[in-house]
Amino acid sequence: MNFSFLVNHIVELSITGLALGAIYALIALGYTMVYGVLQLINFAHSEVFMYGTFAVAWVFVFVHGTTSVNQTLGGTAGLLLLSLLAAMAMSAAIAMLLERVAYRPLLKRKAPRLMALISAIGASFALSELMGLRDRVVGWVGLRDDLDNYVSKARDVYTNPVTIQPQTVFTVGGYGVKDVDIMVIVASLLMMVALDQFVRRTRFGRGIRAVAQDPESAALMGVNATRVIRGTFILGGIMAGAAATLYMVKIGSTRQNAGFIFGVKAFTAAVLGGIGNLRGALLGGLVLGVAENYGAAIFGTQWKDVVAFVLLILILLVRPSGILGESLGKARA
């Protein structure tokens, strides 16, 4: 246990923790929204995120080539924007596919909720494995040579050729705050505010809240539940795409099972904040990211996940429905 280390480096640990937490939060939104309208844990949401990270890397390879270089954040701004769009599109498409293939048939048949969970677990395995076998898939289609840069050794770590070299922007308490961390935190806050406003202000957002509150009355009032559900998946996918881009900025590498750990963490964040609650997801993500970093500083990095889960259990004991409680339309509809 090393509390003095935590105290001495609290600024650095807080900021890097917030940046990580911001990514958790963006992914958590997908879990929380789908849970809000369907009361289902979308176990495959982690793969929605993972496909986004690949979209980012592929855009970089496509535009930049495979030579590995270091770049500043500013120098890659254009490319990043492009890959953000690509990642959002990719993740949204995967989310939509999930809804169509793994959920809608079950909802139609009124299958028990546990069965939907199994379907989601299956979809998660299948999507992840598909990414891990992409060299074979491309090989069957006969495109192996053309697409080699995108395929690579499918199970290996796939890395963005451009490494973003963070620059110090200003110094707080002896720690030089990096532009990358600021960018990650600010960008995810912006996304979150945009989504929050969207759900609050638009007709579609009202639809989501209505379905979350009471699907039957929503249907009576003329809300098309199927469209709302699909839209919810897409919105979650877009947020996951944004998370994927930020993740690639910060970490720079991904692999076919990269979604798993982040998915578990993001789901934890969603529950921590109060599942179904958008602002709760944000708060949950940030709290989790910072707590993990503090825990790693005090107990050693290997205990970081334990810190996260123990925190979850403790918070649920005190507040059984998460920090901010549950609501997607419920409390403030």
């Binding site: 050794k153 070299q165 910060k250 590498s253």
Partner: protein, 380 residues
């Protein structure tokens, strides 16, 4: 080295048998093990290791080396020897049932493997109790040869040798005075890192553990930079090693990064990018000599890779035992125990625990965004 597949372990499962996938990716045991002559009984070598899964590439390297040795032997042998391959996916949970299958097969006269330390520990007893001699080309964990399994051998230096050499390299060659030691809490990694840490003594200024699969290293980076260390030793595998060195460089850390054979892989550079430059990766193995590499390519159609030479040498010891007229497990085991010769990977003889007597540790450098696998420096 002791990699086991991490996530897709125990239950890679097929539920629907009827799904038409028969056409693709079948990886049966390729050895037909057929006997050519009239009074030859069928005899096979077995290989046990990961052929698929995350570590599959390494197992394929090994299988290629064995295949080459077997093919060379069969060219002018009276009775041909086959090769049966058993895919453990590197998992200690899968390996015991495979080991049972191997010892239940009377045609198998010896085992090259197991590939990794975890599966070695899980199966050692089975092979020992069944009296099947084995030679591992790649399992380096120190404790395996401390079990009293007299049928177990390896043609590669163990982690003690490597850790001591790495620590020496850091202090003598690099001239580091403050080394931060990190590992990923896996058996292999921790063993190696602990030897390095203990050898370094006071020069090791800090210690942290990360988790396999972790991608954000910020807390560890803070620790390393806060300790003002001029070198980092990492015990673990290339993915986390690459991410770690990258994030250290991103935070402006300028010391020397060193890791062991778990990271000695071209993929390390892929993950680390330009940040990998200057990194030192050690391994208890020299690169394959050129003419040998050519033979491998010729015979199997694949490149020689890590552990191909060791596997070739291990297989050859069994084949020489056969040539010398040994067919009973006990005779073969005695033959291995007293064996002494020069393999492609170096001089080979075993001490009474089954460890190789002399092994050299090599340091491989990363330069200009590439791992130089051709010209390592031997650490004395």
């Amino acid at each position: 080295m002791n990699r086991t597949t991490r996530v897709w372990r125990a239950g890679a499962v097929v539920l629907a048998a009827g799904l038409a996938l028969t056409a693709c990716g079948s990886d049966d045991s390729s050895g037909d093990g057929s006997s050519s002559g009239g009074d030859c009984t069928e005899q096979n070598l077995a290989f046990l290791g990961a052929l698929t899964g995350d570590a599959g590439a390494l197992g394929v390297n090994m299988a290629n080396g064995i295949q080459l040795a077997v093919d060379e032997y069969n060219e002018d042998a009276e009775c041909e020897v086959g090769l049966k391959k058993f895919d453990s996916q590197g998992s200690p949970d899968k390996a015991p049932a495979l080991a049972t299958e191997i010892v239940g097969d009377d045609t198998i006269i010896g085992l090259v493997g197991p590939g990794f330390s975890g599966e070695s520990l899980a199966t050692g007893k089975t092979f020992f109790e069944a009296g099947l001699p084995s030679i591992s080309p790649s399992a380096t964990n120190v404790t395996i040869t401390e079990q009293g399994w007299t049928t177990w051998h390896r043609v590669i230096g163990n982690d003690n040798a490597q850790g001591a050499a790495d620590a020496k390299y850091l202090t003598d060659t690099v001239g580091a005075s403050k080394v931060y030691v990190i590992d990923d809490a896996q058996d292999y990694s921790k063993g190696l890192a602990t030897v390095v840490k203990d050898t370094l003594g006071d020069t090791a200024v800090g210690y942290d553990e990360i988790q396999v699969g972790q991608t954000d290293m910020s807390a560890t980076v803070t620790k390393v930079t806060a300790a003002k260390s001029d070198a980092v030793f990492y015990g673990g595998y290339y993915t986390e090693a690459g991410l770690l060195v990258k994030q250290l460089r991103q935070a402006g850390w300028r010391g020397t990064f060193m890791s062991g054979d778990g990271a000695e892989d071209p993929a390390f550079v892929k993950v680390a990018g330009q940040a990998g430059n200057g990194a030192v990766l050690s391994a208890p193995a020299a690169p394959a000599p050129e003419d040998f590499a050519a033979k491998v390519k010729d015979d199997t159609g694949s490149e020689a890779g890590l552990y191909t030479t060791q596997s070739y040498d291990a297989a050859n010891i069994f084949l020489e035992a056969l040539k010398a007229g040994n067919t009973e497990p006990k005779d073969i085991n005695d033959f291995i125990g007293s064996y002494s010769g020069d393999g492609v990977s170096g001089p080979i003889s075993f001490d009474d625990k089954g460890d190789i007597e002399t092994s050299t540790i090599y340091a491989y450098m990363v330069k200009d965004g590439e791992l130089d696998t051709e010209n390592p420096t031997a650490i004395e």
